[in-house]
Symmetry: C2
């Protein structure tokens, strides 16, 4: 059995708490209660609420950035790259739903310079995503769509999974990935 350190448990519970209450409304008192630590010992592990938010946002951003890098290394084919990126989003959303929700919904509470750094990272990621679309359009593998419209439609289309997915829904991850990829790559229409 995996034994978690107090610090790990704090971050895990924080993600759940921030998801449930929102970052602003969540208090450090709630958090220390949930983890079952006295404030004196709690503050040995963690300095501030924002320290937790920074870590959650940074770690998730890194998952996407590293994933994108690996995908581009793996293949030159825009279609394969796009399929792999969609799979990456589904996998990240499913593996740690709380932390992805906080990353998606609460980043705007970061203070400077973390906010600017975060936005720069996001912009760079979108740029890399956009390059896949542009390459596909150029090679005539993809339809001639406005790249920004295609980028945001696809990116945004993946932002329900972390809210919705629960193991008890009994939809396996492969079906989820395949249906989403199928819909975005080939469309809903059969004709």
């Amino acid at each position: 059995m995996e034994v978690k350190t107090s610090k790990e448990r704090i971050f895990e519970e924080a993600a759940i708490l921030f998801r449930e209450k929102g970052y602003r409304a969540a208090s450090m008192r709630d958090l220390s209660d949930r983890v079952g630590l006295k404030p004196s010992s709690f503050y040995n592990h963690i300095k501030s609420k924002e320290e937790i938010l920074q870590k959650i946002c940074l770690e998730n951003a890194k998952k996407f950035v590293d994933g994108m890098k690996a995908i581009k290394k793996e293949s030159d084919d825009p279609l394969k790259q796009l399929q792999a990126v969609i799979r990456l989003h589904v996998d990240i959303a499913i593996k740690d739903r709380s932390s992805v929700t906080v990353f998606n919904d609460e980043w705007k509470h970061l203070s400077e310079p973390f906010l600017s750094d975060f936005l720069k990272m996001r912009k760079r990621y979108e740029k890399e995503f956009s390059k896949i679309i542009e390459a596909g359009v150029k090679k005539k593998i993809f339809r001639k769509l406005n790249p920004s419209i295609a980028l945001f439609t696809i990116l945004t289309s993946l932002r329900w999974i972390h809210y919705w997915y629960k193991p008890k829904r009994k939809i396996d991850v492969k079906t989820l990935e395949n249906d989403v990829i199928n819909l975005l790559v080939h469309g809903i229409s059969k004709v």
Copy 2:
């Protein structure tokens, strides 16, 4: 020239203020300042912050519900219905970006019984949307996808337009609608 009543200006400015600051952080003082009304006269028009949120959420919900009704009356063809629903979402998002943003992001601050009513309306709307997808799958016009996965992927894919669209982007509404419809109906891939 259209002359707006004080009440109309209050609701318009409120939507912008809530979008910019978030509903929680926005104060009635900010709002009366923006509209340029003294508190005494301001409170003749409006009772509470939540009254405004209720109106914004209800009016937007009504636009979607009425739009869906009209679309179902207009045609029986699931493909035509789906295209029309996507167009409806784009149009609503573009026409009043602030109010749609508040509707999308701030509804969770509604108090009871408004919150439950709102969620019921949303559920009914999703049900009507789902029926279009199920009918299309049954008639073999649409691919055999899990209807919930298809529903949420499509619904969510439309939730960037109100953030992103600005007249100065010089993308006309027809291109936007056609590209989004094309992507979701026929997919990004040409092959």
